[in-house]
């Protein structure tokens, strides 16, 4: 708008992901710090799926740090089947106008035109998401090309670092969206954090082979080895349905949570939203968590994620 933004960072076509990451993630390149910086501001917070402006207001009032604007929450997408696409711009704009907190929206994996549309709408963060039906069986979006930052799902360090190499400024676990079953979010968080600990403790001569095995950019593997953390913020998502679920993931070591169907498929969404927000702050205080967990009504019904056949799992989408 009134200010000029460094756009030179997005003009190095042709270089490979890791090299580009190396060039673009330097502290003096404002583009990267400004994109990743918003995710830093979301830490310790809860990002909630909403399908109407009214729900967005309820989420904001409950203390959500951001909302994800959708036409259907993942449990409904799962139930309805069919092709799931980007939401109607009217719906997204309606939600943007209803709240003052940042608004995220989902584009299909590889669907860079949906992403262009979301950026044009003023969406604050794009989720290139496995919850929608993938548009490309081989390639993800080249996320360096946008001023709009991206969050992407991952199940392990290789997937996380490939997405970061493509320009993602925030990572979340995939979990198994729309189930209300926390088990896969826990598995993925443990996998990613365990992979990080393994890399951190590796002698440097093993890092190239690790990069090969993880199918991850070497420079990013070296970066994780050096710092002991992902170069971007790491949230949990997929199946979080109670305050205890949120606190579990926080104690395992993520920096914040996404709650999809878990809020507005519960019997008292405002109360559940408020409780999950407070539990994410006091995730390490059992007395507080006991108090927060009282009298919330029924959590979302849910389905056992381990009983979903592999072909129907959303988490296997993404390459």
């Amino acid at each position: 708008m009134a200010t000029t933004i460094s756009s030179s960072a997005t003009q190095t076509n042709g270089t490979r992901g890791a090299q580009r990451w190396k060039e673009m993630s330097k502290p003096e390149v404002g583009d990267w710090r400004v994109k990743g910086g918003l995710a830093q501001m979301l830490k310790g917070g809860v990002i909630m799926d909403v399908v109407t402006p009214d729900q967005a207001k309820i989420a904001e009032d409950a203390g959500a740090v951001s909302v994800m604007a959708l036409e259907r929450v993942p449990s409904d997408i799962r139930r309805d089947g069919g092709v799931a696409r980007m939401s109607d711009p009217d719906l997204i704009s309606g939600i943007i106008n209803a709240v003052s907190i940042p608004v995220m929206a989902k584009a299909r994996i590889g669907h860079f035109v949906e992403a262009q549309i979301l950026e044009a709408l003023g969406v604050d963060y794009c989720d290139e998401s496995e919850v929608l039906t993938p548009a490309d069986n081989e390639y993800h979006i080249d996320k360096w090309q946008y001023k709009m930052p991206y969050v992407c799902g991952a199940r392990n360090i290789g997937e996380a670092l490939r997405r970061i190499g493509e320009g993602a400024a925030m990572i979340r676990t995939k979990g198994e969206a729309g189930t209300g079953d926390i088990v896969h979010a826990v598995t993925h968080a443990r996998q990613i954090l365990g992979d990080i600990r393994r890399l951190q403790n590796m002698p440097t001569e093993e890092l190239m082979s690790a990069a090969r095995d993880f199918q991850a950019p070497y420079e990013l593997v070296v970066e994780v080895h050096r710092t002991g953390k992902l170069p971007v913020v790491n949230f949990a998502a997929g199946g979080i349905a109670t305050p205890a679920d949120a606190a579990l993931l926080m104690q395992i070591g993520v920096e914040g949570v996404f709650v999809g169907s878990g809020i507005f498929k519960s019997s008292n969404p405002a109360k559940m939203a408020d409780a999950i927000v407070r539990a994410t702050t006091h995730f390490n205080d059992p007395d507080m968590l006991a108090e927060i967990s009282r009298g919330l009504g029924t959590a979302m019904p849910g389905i056992e994620a381990n009983k979903i056949p592999q072909a129907d799992q959303l988490q296997t989408r993404g390459w």
């Binding site: 708008m1 009134a2 200010t3 000029t4 933004i5 460094s6 502290p27 003096e28 404002g30 710090r33 400004v34 910086g37 918003l38 830093q40 501001m41 979301l42 830490k43 310790g44 917070g45 904001e60 009032d61 409950a62 203390g63 959500a64 740090v65 951001s66 003052s100 907190i101 940042p102 950026e119 003023g122 604050d124 963060y125 001023k147 709009m148 930052p149 408020d274 927000v277 407070r278 994410t280 702050t281 006091h282 205080d285």
Partner: protein, 224 residues
């Protein structure tokens, strides 16, 4: 204040409000200049620190959690008794006197009016060099993320830095006594100069609160 050591401390005790936001980055920056800061999640902790940073985050969330966890009165009385305070971005919004938005309700700890998300949405976030009064050497690299701006500077509040925009010059860093507010995020850079300034303010607070023995201060908090 019950201190084990009656001498003036060389290092003040600093806390970073850890209800939500990038508190870890502030703690890291303070670590770089030799200060071990604590995460503040309960109002009782405020009586054990000389300075508090309210970090970047979502201002609506932070105000809600401050209210929900009964921080408001305790925070106000600590600030009135001379505790140093610094709000960055969301933190600036939280401590302002009033906002152009109807929501959230700020705490009114510094006499400034603030516009939230002044520069626009995330795609309008940016970084620029900024000359800040009291900070020597090269300009600081200021990161503005969905940043607020000060549209009304009250009496006694000093403007430390401003940016130019379509309507003129507006403040993005202000100070009143031991209270500091910045629209941008020094904690996202490696430049510790503003953190050093805050440590000076907190040291002042520590010395000030120590000069008067606890039995004399009973009921009459020392004032900056």
């Amino acid at each position: 204040m019950n201190r084990l050591n009656g001498n003036a401390p060389s290092r003040p005790r600093i806390g970073v409000l850890a209800l939500q936001g990038d508190f870890a980055e502030h703690i890291h920056m303070l670590g770089l200049i030799g200060i071990t800061a604590v995460e503040v999640r309960k109002v009782q902790q405020l009586s054990e620190i000389d300075g508090l940073i309210i970090p970047g985050g979502e201002s609506t969330t932070i105000v809600k959690l401050l209210t929900r966890f009964d921080f408001i009165d305790g925070l106000r009385s600590q600030v009135e008794s001379g505790m140093a305070l610094w709000g960055t971005c969301a933190g600036m919004i939280v401590i302002a006197r009033e906002l152009t938005d109807p929501y959230p309700t700020p705490l009114g700890l510094i006499d400034i009016g603030v516009s939230r998300n002044y520069f626009g949405r995330q795609v309008d976030s940016f970084e620029q060099e900024l000359v800040i009064k009291g900070i020597e050497g090269a300009p600081m690299q200021a990161v503005f993320i969905r940043a607020p701006i000060v549209n009304d500077v009250g009496v006694g509040v000093e403007t430390l830095a401003s940016v130019q925009n379509g309507v003129g010059t507006q403040a993005v860093a202000v100070k009143n006594g031991r209270i500091l507010a910045t629209s941008f995020h020094p904690e996202l850079t490696r430049d510790t100069r503003l953190h050093e300034l805050f440590v000076e303010l907190a040291t002042e607070a520590a010395n000030d609160r120590i000069r008067i023995s606890p039995d004399i201060t009973e009921g009459t908090p020392s004032q900056a």
